[in-house]
Amino acid sequence: MIVPFSHVLVLSGILFVLGVFCAVARRNLIMIILGIEIMLNAAAIAFIGASLRRQDLDGQTFVLFILAVAATEVSVGLAIIVYAFRRTGSFDPGNFNLMK
C-alpha cells in the first residue's frame, strides 16, 4: 500500500467530523445536505482504504452503492427543500418548529 491504512482512517475521520460540523453548525438546509454528502464520502474513503488493505474489491463495490444512495438521497432531499422553501420562503432550519 502506498499510504498506511491509519492515515486513510484519519483522513476519513477528519472528513467525517467536518461533515458533521457542516451539517450541524450552519443555518441552511442545503448545508445540511452538503454535510451529509461529506459524511457519506468520508465513509466511502474509509471503505476504499479498507479494500486496499485487504486486497479485494468488496469495499470498492460498496462505495458504488454508497454513491448511488447518496445521489438518490440528495435528489429527494433537495425536492423537500424546494417544497419547504416554497412554503416558508427561507432556508433556516429554525423556522421549521411547528411540532415544538
Partner: protein, 635 residues
C-alpha cells in the same frame, strides 16, 4: 360496679344531680320560646336537688363511713373511666351549699332577668351549671371530677358571655375559659401522672395508704400540677385576672359562679385531696405562699376599684387565697368552714349589689351612692350585714371562720404568715366598709346626674308590691339570716366534718386567743379608717392608697398582670409563634413543593429542547449517542 352503703343514698344522689341536667336538655331543645315554663322547670329541678341534698344531710348527719358507688362507664384497654358517687361529710356539705345557693340565685334571677330575651337560655345554662357543679362535688375519682370541672368551666363561659352582643362580655368569657383551660391542662397532666403510677385510682384510695407508696418527688409534682388547676379555677396568682372581667355576666351569675360555687371548686378540690397533698410538705408550703400572694394582691386591687362588682370579685380572689392559706397551713376545718361562710356572705354581697345595679343601671360605687342607693332598704341592710361578715365582725359567721384561720396560721412556726393574714384582715375590712360608707353616706353634689330613665322593669324605691322586687328580696333575707346564724354552728359543723377531735394544726389556747384579739382589733381599725376616709362628714373620699399615685396606678392596673398576658398571647403566641408556623407553611413547605414543581417543569423544558424542532440538534443528539455507544461497546 362496687358500692358500699345504702341504695337509697345512691338513688337520692342520682335524682339530685340528674334533675337539673334533664331540665337543661328539655329547656334547650323544646322551650326556647317559653320563658316562664323554662324558669319553672329549672327552679323545680333545683328545688328537687335542694330537697335531696338536705335529705342526704339528715340521713348521714352522723358522719362516719363514706358511701361510694362506681360503675364502669368507659373501658379502653386498661383505662377505665368509672362513673359514680362519693358521699362523705365534705361532699355532702358542699352539695348542700351548692344546692342552696343555686336555688336562691335562680329565684333571684326571676326578678333580675325578667324581660330579657334570652330568659330561657339563661335558665338552661343555669341548670347546666347546677348539674355540673353538683356532680363535681360527688365525684369519686379524679377523672370524673376533671370532666365536671371542665363542664363547670363551660357553663361559666356560656353565662359570662350571656349578653353576647356586647363584645366585652364575649371577650371576658373567652378569657375566662382560656385561662381556666390553662390551669386545667396542668391538672390533667397531674392526673395522668397519678394514673401512670397508680392506675385507675379513686379519691378515697388516693387519700389512703396506697399513695404513700409513691416517691416524694412524684407526689410533690402531682400535687403541684393538680394545684395548677386550682390556681386556674379559683383565680389565684398568677391566673387571677379573668375573675374581675367575668363580672360582665349578669349579677346572679357572678353571685353563683364567681363567688360561692364554681371558684370554690378549686378550694373544694384542695380539701378533697387534703390528705394526699399533706404528704408533701414542700407542695403545701408553696400552696401557702401562692394563697398569701393572691390574698394580698387582690385586696390591694379591691381598695382602688370604682366598680362595685369588681370590688367583690377581687374580694373573692382574696378570700379564696385566705382559704388556701388555711388549707396549706394544715387547717382543714378552718379552710372548709370559711368556704361555707364565704359562700353565704359573698353571694349575699353580690345579690345586694345586683339590686342596686338593676335599679340604677350603673356599677360605679360613687354614682350609686350619689343616686340615692341608701334608699333601697332591704338590700342596703343586707349589704351591710354581709360586709360586716366579710370583715370578720362578731357575731356574724365570717368572724368565726376567720378566727379559725388565724388560729391555724398562728400555729405555724414562721410568723410571716400570721402577719400576712392579719394584714389581709385589715385590708378586707377597709375595702368592704369603703363600699358601705360610699353607698350609705354619699357626699352631696357628687356625680349628681339626672334621675335614671325609667327602665321597663321599674322598681319602686321602698320595695313595694312589685313582684320582681320580691323575688330579689327574699333570697337576700334568707342569706342574711344564714350569715348571722352560721357562725354559731361552728362546733356541730366541726364534729360533722372531722369528728370530735379537731384535725390539723390549731395553736395553743393562749396564742390562739391573742391572735384572735389582734385580728378583731385590726378589723375594727380597718372599719374606722374607712369611716375616717369615706364615711364621716367632710371626708375627702380619697383613700390613703390613692394619695400615692404610683401605688394606686399599680393596683388599678391589676399589678400589670393583664398587660403581661396580653403581651404573652398577643405578641409571643399570636404574632410570634403562630406567625412563624403560618409563614413556614406558606414559604417553607409550600415553597419547597413549588420549587420542586418549578424544577420539574424546567427540567421538562430542557429535555424538550432535545426534541425541539431544530433538526440539527436532533442530528447532534443522534451523533452523540452513536459515539457513546461505539465507545462503550469497543471498550
Amino acid at each position: 360496679m362496687q358500692m358500699t352503703g345504702g341504695h337509697i343514698t345512691v338513688s337520692i344522689v342520682t335524682l339530685a344531680t340528674l334533675a337539673p341536667f334533664a331540665a337543661f336538655l328539655v329547656i334547650l331543645l323544646f322551650m326556647r320560646s317559653r320563658p316562664r315554663l323554662s324558669a319553672g322547670l329549672s327552679i323545680g329541678a333545683v328545688i328537687l336537688s335542694f330537697a335531696c341534698s338536705v335529705l342526704l344531710l339528715i340521713l348521714h348527719r352522723a358522719g362516719g363511713e363514706a358511701v361510694q358507688y362506681t360503675s364502669r362507664w368507659m373501658v379502653a384497654g386498661n383505662i377505665e373511666v368509672p362513673f359514680g358517687y362519693l358521699i362523705d361529710p365534705l361532699s355532702l356539705l358542699m352539695l348542700v351549699i351548692v344546692a342552696t345557693i343555686c336555688l336562691l340565685v335562680q329565684v333571684y334571677s326571676l326578678g333580675y332577668m325578667a324581660g330579657d330575651p334570652g330568659f330561657s337560655r339563661y335558665y338552661a345554662f343555669m341548670s347546666l351549671f347546677s348539674w355540673a357543679m353538683m356532680s363535681l362535688t360527688v365525684s369519686p375519682t379524679l377523672f370524673q371530677l376533671y370532666i365536671f370541672w371542665e363542664l363547670v368551666g363551660l357553663s361559666s363561659y356560656l353565662l359570662i358571655g350571656f349578653w353576647y352582643e356586647k363584645f366585652s362580655a364575649t371577650q371576658a368569657g373567652k378569657k375566662a375559659f382560656v385561662m381556666t383551660r390553662t390551669g386545667d391542662t396542668a391538672f390533667f397532666i397531674g392526673l395522668l401522672l397519678i394514673f401512670l403510677h397508680l392506675g385507675n385510682i379513686g379519691i378515697l384510695q388516693l387519700n389512703g395508704p396506697e399513695a404513700k407508696a409513691l416517691s416524694p418527688n412524684v407526689i410533690t409534682l402531682a400535687a403541684l400540677l393538680i394545684f395548677g388547676g386550682i390556681v386556674g379555677k379559683s383565680a389565684q396568682f398568677p391566673l387571677m385576672t379573668w375573675l374581675p372581667d367575668a363580672m360582665e355576666g349578669p349579677t346572679p351569675v357572678s353571685a353563683l359562679l364567681h363567688s360561692a360555687t364554681m371558684v370554690a371548686a378549686g378550694v373544694y378540690l384542695f380539701a378533697r385531696l387534703f390528705p394526699f397533698f399533706s404528704l408533701s410538705p414542700t407542695a403545701m408550703s408553696i400552696f401557702l405562699g401562692i394563697g398569701t400572694i393572691s390574698m394580698l394582691l387582690a385586696a390591694t386591687m379591691a381598695m382602688v376599684s370604682r366598680d362595685i362588682k369588681k370590688v367583690w370579685a377581687y374580694s373573692t380572689i382574696s378570700q379564696l387565697g385566705f382559704m388556701i392559706m388555711a388549707l396549706g397551713a394544715g387547717g382543714y376545718f378552718a379552710g372548709v368552714f370559711h368556704l361555707t361562710t364565704h359562700a353565704g356572705f359573698k353571694a349575699l354581697l353580690f345579690l345586694c349589689s345586683g339590686v342596686f345595679i338593676h335599679h340604677f343601671h350603673t356599677n360605679d360605687i360613687f354614682e350609686l351612692g350619689g343616686l340615692g342607693g341608701r334608699a333601697l332598704k332591704v338590700p342596703m341592710i343586707c349589704l351591710a350585714i354581709a360586709a360586716a361578715a366579710l370583715s370578720g365582725i362578731p357575731p356574724l359567721s365570717g368572724y368565726f371562720s376567720k378566727e379559725a384561720i388565724i388560729g391555724t396560721l398562728a400555729a405555724l412556726e414562721n410568723p410571716v404568715w400570721l402577719a400576712a393574714g392579719l394584714a389581709g384582715i385589715f385590708l378586707t375590712a377597709y375595702y368592704a366598709f369603703r363600699v358601705i360608707f360610699l353607698l350609705l353616706l354619699p357626699k352631696p353634689g357628687e356625680t349628681a346626674q339626672a334621675p335614671p330613665s325609667p327602665s321597663p322593669t321599674h322598681v319602686s324605691l321602698d320595695g313595694g308590691g312589685n313582684s320582681e322586687y320580691r323575688f330579689m328580696a327574699w333570697p337576700l333575707i334568707v342569706l342574711a339570716g344564714v350569715t348571722v346564724v352560721l357562725g354559731l354552728l361552728e362546733n356541730s359543723l366541726r364534729d360533722f366534718l372531722v369528728g370530735p377531735h379537731a384535725l390539723g394544726a390549731v395553736a395553743g389556747d393562749e396564742m390562739h386567743a391573742r391572735a384572735g384579739y389582734l385580728a378583731l382589733g385590726l378589723a375594727a381599725s380597718g372599719v374606722v379608717l374607712a369611716w375616717f376616709e369615706f364615711g364621716r362628714h367632710g371626708s375627702s373620699r380619697i383613700g390613703f392608697v390613692e394619695r400615692i399615685p404610683v401605688l394606686a396606678r399599680l393596683f388599678a392596673e391589676r399589678w400589670y398582670l393583664d398587660h403581661f398576658y396580653r403581651l404573652l398571647v398577643g405578641e409571643v403566641i399570636d404574632k410570634g409563634i403562630s406567625y412563624l408556623c403560618y409563614k413556614n407553611d406558606n414559604k417553607v413547605i409550600d415553597g419547597s413543593i413549588d420549587a420542586l414543581c418549578a424544577g420539574t417543569v424546567e427540567g421538562g423544558r430542557i429535555t424538550a429542547l432535545l426534541n425541539s424542532c431544530m433538526i440539527q440538534y436532533r442530528l447532534l443528539t443522534i451523533f452523540a449517542v452513536l459515539v457513546f455507544l461505539a465507545l462503550y461497546f469497543s471498550f
